[in-house]
Amino acid sequence: MLVKEYSHRIYSYSLNFSGSRQFAEEATQEAFFRIFKSIDRIEANPKIFELYLYKTAKNICIDNYRKHKGEHIVEEQDFMIPKWDPDYATKELVWRALNSLPQEERNLMIMREIEGLSYEEIATMENIPLGTLKSRLNRIKIKLAEILQKLEKRG
């Protein structure tokens, strides 16, 4: 079933994007609901379907973000990284660094580095030229590494 196949990726994306379990659940539900309503208009190609889902989830997350007056809601990250995880400290640090990025930059990093989408897929989704995307992502990666270095120094 489509929901079982794709829900964890959309949930993961929304959770990392919003930093809130509640938002992520709402966004995942709503994304499937909207897709369901326009299923006739979507090409019967799994990759396109997946990208469409991501795009829909992203739009919902952004709407939510705006509704809360740009306030960046980040809950406790324990729900994402269990405390018994041997790499908890590292993951928590990286998660904090990621969440300190502006929304659009965080979105690109999540799609590329966490969800593993290709440059081509992201460029299609975001409607930006491939070269622009690559250089933008490079800049974001440098910025993220800098943030991480700072966080590590602070301990």
Partner: protein, 189 residues
């Protein structure tokens, strides 16, 4: 420094770790950047949430089933008539009357109803939507009240559904049935 970082990133993306390392060894800042980048590359994919909570899956499935039922509902006879008559408003009276008469006959003969049926099977409650009377195989969703779980199965309509039960458990379509069952085109004969 910016150039070195970009080159390090490029090497790393191409999987040329040793070259990236060699380049980073030139300065302390570049080494730190290389190490941070290595950490990010290793850790970011780990932040993907592996599973969706069961409760969320259930919510999505319920909502989609509800929507399927709504989508399957056909307009009432009166709504159909109104829809068909609207473009005829610009016609002259005799033409309008003839057209309306023909439409009435057509609609009456083709009128199909959406029926929802609810069945109690042991401890479970089953809701069944039977839209196509010609359907032989029907996908049925079972809702287990005790465990709050939804399961699905295909039943042979003729073997499992008796006429008298249909009448007994029929739920009017305008009462927004509590859901759970629907037949899909792929399961129709």
């Amino acid at each position: 420094m910016q150039d070195i970082r970009e080159e390090i990133l490029l090497f790393m993306e191409e999987g040329r770790q040793k070259e990236a390392e060699a380049l980073a060894a030139g300065s302390r800042e570049a080494t730190e950047f290389f190490e941070a980048q290595k950490l990010l590359n290793a850790t970011l994919p780990e932040l993907r949430v592996p599973l969706t909570p069961d409760s969320l899956l259930r919510k999505i499935e319920f909502r989609l089933i509800e929507e399927t039922l709504k989508a399957e509902e056909e307009p009432t006879f009166a709504e159909k008539l109104r829809l068909w008559l609207r473009p005829m408003a610009s016609l002259s009276l005799p033409l309008f009357l003839v057209g309306a008469g023909v439409l009435l006959i057509l609609l009456k003969s083709n009128q199909s109803r959406v029926n929802y049926y609810a069945y109690k099977v042991k401890s479970r409650v089953v809701y069944l939507l039977d839209r196509a009377s010609s359907a032989k195989d029907i996908l049925v969703f079972f809702f287990d009240k005790n465990s709050d779980k939804v399961s699905e199965t295909i039943i042979k309509k003729d073997k499992n559904v008796k006429k008298e039960e249909e009448k007994r458990w029929q739920v009017k379509s305008d009462k927004n049935p509590r859901v759970l069952l629907c037949s899909f085109p792929s399961y129709r004969a």
